[in-house]
Amino acid sequence: MKRRQALIILVSIVVLSSQGLAAEKKYQRTAEKYSVPDVSLVNQDGKKIPFKSYLETDKPVMVEFIYATCTTICPVLSAGFANLQRKMGADAVKIRLISISIDPENDTPQVMKDYLKKYTASPGWDFLSGKREDIDSVMRSFDAYVANKMYHLPLTLIRSPADGSWVRIKGLMGAADLQDELAQITK
């Protein structure tokens, strides 16, 4: 009985103190293989981006699905990207950050440009939109398709440049989590 009480206290202390420091790891992580469609998307500068080959780079790639007017989820995902870029400083160009719009109707190059500016994005972070069918097929290829944008999941997909394999992270990460995940891919 005593031991049990002590254990409870110990556990509570651990839980409480870890909560005080940073978010507990609440996300799920799986290893995946994806085959993405060879579609042409458009970035914030109105430039056409051949999506498949854009991913096939020797840099680590991080992909997230967002839209410019989205509440709650996207601001947090984008703050994560912004913070990662800020922390990496000049090294930020060594990774490729890609936000893909799931509201291509509204997310025109101008809207995407304004969005990135708000998040003080630096080169190396692209926001991609495109034809509805192409966006749908990209979402499907990452098993992230939603018919209604409000349903979308907080996903971060990280591609390893070594073998093109992916890590799929479901849930929102903290800054340290994001850096950890990136470090694991690059090590």
């Binding site: 909560q19 420091l21 940073a22 978010a23 458009v42 109105g46 839209y67 410019a68 007017t69 989205c70 509440t71 709650t72 989820i73 996207c74 601001p75 947090v76 984008s78 703050a79 994560g80 912004a82 913070n83 509201d103 291509p104 109707e105 509204n106 025109t108 190059p109 101008q110 708000k118 998040y119 003080t120 939109s129 495109g130 034809k131 509805r132 018919a147 209604n148 944008k149 409000m150 349903y151 979308h152 999941l153 907080p154 929102l172 990460m173 903290g174 800054a175 340290a176 989590d177």
Partner: protein, 583 residues
Amino acid sequence: MSPITIRLHIRVLRTLLNSIAVLAFFFCSDAAAAENQQTAVEGPTREKLVQLGERMYREGLLPSGKPITALVQGDIPVEGTTFTCVSCHVRSGIGSYEGGVVTLPTNGEILYRPFKDVRRFVTPGVGMIPYFKLPKIQAPPRPAYTDTTLATVLRTGIDPAGRQLDYVMPRYQLSDPDMNILIFYLKALSAQTSPGVTDTTIRFATVITEEVSPKERQEMLSVLNAIVIARNNAGKSKMDSQLPRWAGFSEDLSRSRRKISLAVWELKGPPGTWRSQLEQYYRKEPVFALLAGITTGEWKPVHEFSEANKIPCLFPITDFPVISSTDWYTQYISKGYYQEGEAVARFLGNMEDLSPEKAIVQLYQDTREGRALADGFRETWKTFDRRQPVDCVIKKGNPVTKEYLLQKALSKEKSAILLLWAGPEAYAALEAVAADANKPDMIYLSSSLLKDGFLAVPETVRAFTYITYPYRLGLEITPGKDLGKGSMGVRKDAPVPVATRNVAQKTGSSQSLLPEIFMMMMTNFYRDYMLDIIGMCGDMKDSPYERLSFGPGQRYASKGCYIVQLTPGANPAVVKKSDWVIH
């Protein structure tokens, strides 16, 4: 002041006694105390405090003008300039549901009450997410907040029940004076039911300007009246009976039920006098919101009335909306003519083999239509790094002649692009241009201006003529799954003939969102919330448009416009040359 209505929109307070006690506490002691405290210490007026608080809530700026800073997800620093309260709790403070995260309400009325069952607060139908699919226990019960515990939760994320909030909710380090202002604002936020709502009725009005034809007027009114009748006469609608009973949801829904009434506000005389006529109607009988409405002219005076009095106006039928990226209260179907000009600019701007120096001649009549098309093109074209268009403006009523076209408009430019914002009366001149040595490389026309003459574009120019077409192609609306939205009796399965800009169709499809809006609003009868809800609605595919879409702050539901060409022959086919949305 209207009699105090005790809103039991949540089952938190089962008994009247409890509600009165809490309300009395909230209105008499707390709010007054906060106000006194603020005014006593610093002296700013109530209005000023709300304004400062609103800036923190909406723009993320401290009273000093510096951005608010916070930590999200435990260790990600954010500045107010990237996102702030409004980005998650939305404008009304009632909260949102996105990507599996429920953002709880943060309006004083709800914060300062105990919270027994979160599911009652959660916007139930958000994007048609089945109610029962929401995470079961997002937030366990908590006691009512006080000013002190509210400051604590905003700083530390620990609620009065000792729960550590999800780290999606940022932790804000605010000084005491700044915190007081924010709390003062939260108390004022969605604190009172908006005008136009009683215990039994929600009043709406629709605005009609006198020059509208009896036919169009009738088309719009019959749809609106059908909505009113369906809503008021229906017992339990089909939708209601499909809702899960166990959640207590249907009871909440029936408690939120109000009859709706619809007044017709007819505007007479010059547009300059409309505003005062509107104010007069409103003083006589305040309404919660304006539904549809129709004019052949500009919507601007009504738009400004809505904006100034914070009265939502949902989907007016107008070809001349106000184009603004910041105004809040009018939700339009599309940008009208402006959108067609915009589409041409995007289409040309994205043409990779088009020289940046290519000459563009924009010829339009000095009419509302002409100006709107030209503005849409010009303003969008500016975002591309290309040579500016040459504008040729013809007096209203003057025809576009072949002499004008060849000797004035096109004389200085070889192989230009001609944007001709005119109707079929310009066809003869176009035929002459086609035969001339200095014919333009491309011609752009607007199907909305060509109207019934759309399919009669001269064959000699068809090969190099492009036409804006802001509707879905093959205009047939087939009954399908989406028809659930038409459950208030609006038939949407009749095919739409080409070139008919059917008022009934436009009204019917856009207003078909109403049942969903009512359902999601529950008893949160706040005007801002009504607009927040629209921002959370799923895309609509059964309308005269390819797609209507919504999002927080998005105010033009149709975002697209095709660029098409006609095949040769007497019965030409319409061929898409662009996507619906041109990026």
